[in-house]
């Protein structure tokens, strides 16, 4: 149950990171004036802010990632013969 909720939580975190990456690029505002924020042009501050939040979420997502060395390898053929059938 805990594993399943972590898996869902991780997917939500990755979705949020994707959104932050889209928001980090100033495609939605072309030209015009800008202001300074913390000494940086505001569009740079937005980009860095997005990356800072994305870093925190990604770190959290990694801590929730179960890398099980003994997990079942369903995506791999059991032998090369099977791989030949499957892969060519």
């Amino acid at each position: 149950m805990r594993m399943k909720s972590r898996k869902t939580g991780r997917r939500i975190l990755l979705g949020m990171i994707g959104f932050l990456f889209v928001a980090s690029v100033p495609w939605y505002r072309q030209g015009g004036e800008f202001q300074l924020f913390l000494g940086l042009p505001d569009w740079v501050a937005v980009a860095i802010g997005c990356y800072a939040v994305a870093a925190c979420l990604n770190s959290w997502a990694w801590l929730w990632t179960e890398v099980d060395d003994h997990a079942e390898l369903n995506f791999l053929p059991k032998s090369n013969d099977q791989a030949e059938e499957k892969g060519s």
Partner: protein, 484 residues
């Protein structure tokens, strides 16, 4: 003591320490097998793994190419922080599946996964060989960039007492010595020390720049006067290029052979995920810092916008060194940090090159000890072949990274897609790889390395994926045998 004397002394101390680490790593070796030599016996814990990932990811390109690029393009190079972070996000698609397969099936190189996934069919074998050749090309390209950067830094830190060519040849020889002697253990342990030096050096330099220029606001205002386009909101084409660069480097970098081999080399899966949890902050502490250094240089230096821009960082350090004995020592620490970042990437490239050539290109038949020995020899030969090329300075470091990535990104479907999609076939993957590579290389050579901001490699990857998906679903209709 003059700057060059301090530089020579620091260089001598640093190189002696490296040789000592190599000797300790050599004594820690348990057996001469590919797994022990190329993966350090799969024993890397969280701390060493994190630092080796860090030192390998941040290279001569990050230390010399990125400030030069930020100097040329201005604040829009903040995109570099985005693509370095995208790499750690993209690893989510690779690590949880590739790691258990590597442990259970004993992978040493990326080609081991391809052989396992696509089998011993003719298409599978050609695919494995083709991917290995593309990876060898990309690694050789990367190694070349590091050799050039090593020569640069060695000549600057010693005030040209060690000329560029001696720096390239001498440091390349040293890397070859400690890599062949200690294998992955020597590489990872030296990477750990090099990673710390690099981070400390960069942060010190940034503090000096900010304090000396009156703070970030002052720097930005001054840059807006000298070069207004460097602070302006990027146009649509630059925004498209920003997305394209995130895709190119975020996807292409996860299939670096040395990155894949560090996934194999971790002690446990947990150590790996904890290392990535730490790595995700490093773009903010490193890439953003070097971007700011490049921006701050606009207010202090006037250099050309071509090849000379790669010299922005060394010029800044030289300027810093003129201010007094303490700043002289500080500048030398940053120089050594930069040199160690470059060497740590070069040694990882070399180790991976040796393993790829021995196992995926020429190998598979010899026994373990023979293969590890063969890897050492092949790595040495490649390094020797690279040196004459490194002595020419005709391409900027940034251009070398882009060229490599446009090729390497074509390997992405063979790993990322193949780990998640069971229907993917070897023939379709091979076709996609060929078509994608031809398109990206063709566009680059025709002078269209970018089409409205989109990299040729990204366009090639899109076509590559379309061919893989259609080809994997397509089943040729075979003639039905007629019954007598």
């Amino acid at each position: 003591m003059s700057f060059s004397e301090v530089g020579v002394l620091a260089l001598a101390v640093y190189l002696t320490v490296l040789l000592g680490v190599a000797e300790v790593a050599n004594r820690a070796r348990r057996e001469l097998t590919p797994s022990d030599h190329f993966l350090g016996g799969r024993e890397l814990g969280v701390f060493v793994l994190f630092l080796t990932l860090y030192a390998t990811a941040y290279s001569g390109n990050s230390l010399l190419g990125y400030p030069g690029r930020a100097y040329r393009t201005g604040f829009s190079f903040v995109m570099a922080t985005g693509f370095m972070m995208a790499i750690i996000v993209t690893f989510h698609a690779l690590v949880p599946r590739l790691r258990p397969a590597a442990i259970q099936r004993g992978y040493v190189t990326p080609g081991d996964f391809l052989r396992d996934r696509f089998g011993g069919s003719r298409s599978g074998r050609i695919l494995g060989f083709s991917v290995a050749m593309l990876m060898v090309f990309a690694l050789a390209n990367f190694l070349l960039a590091q050799l050039k950067a090593m020569g640069y830094v060695a000549s600057l830190v010693t005030g040209d007492l060690v000329p560029y060519s001696w720096g390239v040849i001498g440091l390349a020889g040293l890397i070859l010595f400690y890599e062949t002697r200690g294998g992955m253990r020597a590489v990872a342990w030296t990477d750990a020390a090099q990673g710390i030096l690099m981070a400390v050096g960069l942060l010190t330099l940034l503090v000096w720049l900010l304090v000396g220029s009156g703070g970030m606001t002052q720097i930005t205002l001054e840059v807006s006067k000298i070069r207004p386009e460097a602070v302006a909101v990027p146009d649509l084409k630059t925004s498209v290029n920003w997305f394209s660069t995130i895709a190119l480097l975020g996807l292409g970098s996860v299939v670096y052979p040395q990155a894949i081999q560090r996934i194999y080399a971790a002690r446990t899966g947990r150590a790996l995920s904890q290392s990535f949890a730490l790595m995700t902050y490093m773009p903010l502490l490193t890439t953003f810092v070097v971007t700011l250094i490049g921006i701050a240089a606009i207010t202090r230096l006037e250099v050309g916008t071509g090849i000379d821009a790669d010299g922005v960082m060394p010029l800044l350090l030289n300027e810093w060194a003129q201010e007094g004995p303490i700043s002289r020592v500080g500048a030398v620490v940053v120089f050594i940090g930069a040199l160690s970042a470059i060497m740590s990437t070069a040694d990882s490239c070399l180790l991976s090159l040796g393993s790829l050539l021995a196992r995926d290109v020429f190998g598979r038949t010899g026994d373990g000890a023979k293969q590890a020995q063969q890897g050492k020899w092949l790595a040495g030969l490649v390094l020797v072949a690279m040196i004459p090329l490194a002595l020419h300075r005709d391409v900027t470091l940034w251009r070398l990274i882009e060229l490599k990535m446009e090729i390497l990104i074509q390997c992405v479907p063979a790993f990322l897609l193949a780990l998640h999609w069971g229907k993917q076939t070897a023939t379709a993957t091979l076709m996609g790889l060929v078509v994608g590579t031809i398109l990206s290389v063709g566009l680059t050579y025709l002078g269209f390395s970018q089409v409205f901001g989109v990299h040729a490699g990204v366009a090639g990857l899109v076509l590559n994926c379309v061919v893989v998906v259609i080809g994997s679903y397509w089943k040729p209709s075979l003639p039905v045998p007629v019954k007598a």
